[in-house]
Symmetry: C2
Subunit: 346 residues, 2 copies
DNA sequence: AGGCTATAGGAAATCGATTTCTAAAATATT
DNA sequence: AATATTTTAGAAATCGATTTCCTATAGCCT
């Protein structure tokens, strides 16, 4: 799409205008507005009054150029309107406002190409830091290296690539998954299936590992056929559940790495006239709003997404921004919590 | 909170570096990179190759300062993580990317103070346009006037103030509300209550008006007591429904201006051992995901939020940006649709 | 009083692009 | 072949702040 040129806006009052009308130097105006100790309070007052009078507005662009940083943070997520990410963004925003920073948001719609473009845009915008959760497609990391090459801080969260060294904020996915299976086991389920996402993502590897570990620890059989790696939608969850529930050795419980998948499993049960929790246990991930509203209500792993957003931003302000030399690069694990509801309680 | 100073980033390659290493003028480099017709394709190629070789990155900040506009659009919403707004933002983002624009997002958390600050920040950031949906608290519009004073375009959407002249994008709330009541009436409900939001917001005035008009047109009685203006949460919906359903003249249906309120009404019914749709009809607004998942499923007015986002952005690019002189200021009405589900079907 | 330090304010360079104006070179015209 | 025209490239100003360096004055000390 062509970029339409824009007309220049009408001129605003600048520090030069203030300087002239007060008969002082522009540099003094700048210092006064920045509350520099090298300016008397008399002049500060003069400048502030005049600034108000003439409706002066600070031009962040000019300041950014001169200073070399922007107090803008770029966020890249797969989908802005998935509640998990929307909550994270909301949490990030809250903390950023406290620190007088602004937020540029990009969504990749799970496309690597859009992710690469988003990174490019943010680098060009001179953001101070990029917070990113990778798209499902992303397997290469050249664009992430670019962030480093341009000396921009960055933090990966949730869907991260271990191939690149960076601060990260994630749930303890392995533990969460382990606990979910443990919970199912304690409720007496024996044949537990795992419906996960693409195995090239760390996130899903860990959840699968937690699942496997728990099976072993609780003496449950591991069926290769019960493990599926590309189930990330309601539709695919339903389809795969329908399939598995009509084989000889059937699962009696499902660990789904998304509540939407849980929903699909539930639909499958209804279609097969099975009931949850009696015949089949279900537990999902994310603790979406709807999990407590469906019949039966769906158990889920609460990932504390809003808090995760806050922690991501706080990590930036408390550590990353300060560029501590030789500081070791941190991984923050955000707590999770099994929310036990009807679908896994028998 | 104190603003911590930041270290300046390491220097990047600039057009001056490219110019020097090619033995041409910086201005020529700029023109080459901007594909100006005043530069030969030979030099363009040279410059592009060298730019790639040296990993040149365009500094948007410098360009913005010089050009006087930024290709950045500011969005202000009450809550980023309410699905209605999250969808709108996602729609806006999609269209903005097509037009090579970036998005700065601010949330007000329904606070006027935060809204005013957000506007200030965006003006200082030199955004080309501000897209805003007002907080519940907002009754004054001085900050919106500021946007105009600084010659920044702006578009109000959903929650707008008619007190200030601007482009607007809204649902046809009156019609939507009218149709919802009409639908309830056709299903045989006679005593329809209205649960709306603060009456100082246009949005809710219109929905109330549509409700009243429909009552009249369908020959239904208007009960002053059935009209409530401060019901915007599940809790308040439940509470008020409990109250009304235990009076002498009870409503047999509820028009709620939010699905969350519908949910509260549903809870009230369960508590009172009433059932929907048999005893009481319910219809809400926004067509939230969960409305199709609860039992009984909840009827709702689909507001096409994602499409609304797209239309807002498209309005900007097709009309507002071009600053057509004496163009009349437009209001776009986004279609709505009654989604009939169990809660209103008897 | 003389000299020294601290302080306040100003001059000028700077950030990195864009853009206007000018001039040289290439091409076209008669 | 001489002149007119068009192209192409460069010089320099500009956007609006910040920041460094410098100077003049006020305040301090013995």
């Amino acid at each position: 799409m062509a970029i339409v040129p824009m007309a220049k806006r009408e001129k605003r009052i600048t520090i030069y205008d203030l300087a002239k009308s007060l008969n002082i130097a522009p540099s003094s105006v700048s210092k006064a507005l920045n509350n520099s100790h090298a300016i008397s309070s008399k002049i500060k007052k003069m400048v502030e009054d005049k600034a108000k009078e003439l409706n002066y507005v600070h031009n962040t662009n000019a300041a950014n150029l001169r200073r070399g940083f922007t107090r803008i943070i770029g966020v890249i997520v797969p989908k802005i309107n998935e509640s998990f990410f929307a909550n994270i963004i909301a949490g990030i925003e809250k903390v950023c406002v406290q620190h007088q920073h602004s937020l540029i948001i990009c969504q990749t719609e799970e496309s690597l190409e859009k992710e690469v473009n988003a990174v490019q845009t943010l680098i060009r915008q001179n953001v101070d830091c990029i917070l990113i959760s990778l798209s499902l497609e992303t397997q290469s990391t050249a664009h992430l290296e670019e962030i480093k090459n341009n000396h921009i801080h960055f933090i990966q969260f949730d869907r991260i690539s271990p191939a690149i060294d960076s601060y990260t904020v994630v749930n303890d996915n392995e533990a969460a998954s382990y606990q979910a299976v443990a919970h199912l086991a304690k409720q007496g389920y024996q044949n537990i299936a795992y419906f996960g996402g693409p195995a090239h993502l760390n996130l899903y590897q860990e959840r699968k590992q937690g699942y496997k570990n728990a099976l072993k620890d609780f003496g449950l059989t591991f069926y290769e056929d019960f493990v599926k790696d590309e189930i990330i939608s309601t539709a695919s969850g339903k389809q795969e559940a329908l399939h598995l529930l009509q084989t000889n050795v059937k699962p009696d419980a499902f660990l789904c790495t998304s509540d939407y998948v849980s929903l699909g499993v539930l639909e499958a049960l209804q279609q097969l006239n099975l009931s949850s929790p009696k015949d089949v246990g279900i537990i999902g991930f994310a603790n979406e709003m709807f999990t407590q509203l469906v019949q039966p209500s769906l158990s889920s792993v609460n990932q504390f997404s809003y808090e995760m957003g806050e922690q991501i931003a706080e990590l930036y302000f408390s550590e990353v921004m300060k560029q501590k030399e030789h500081e070791e690069i941190k991984t923050i694990k955000v707590k999770t919590e099994i929310v036990q509801r009807a679908s896994s309680s028998r």
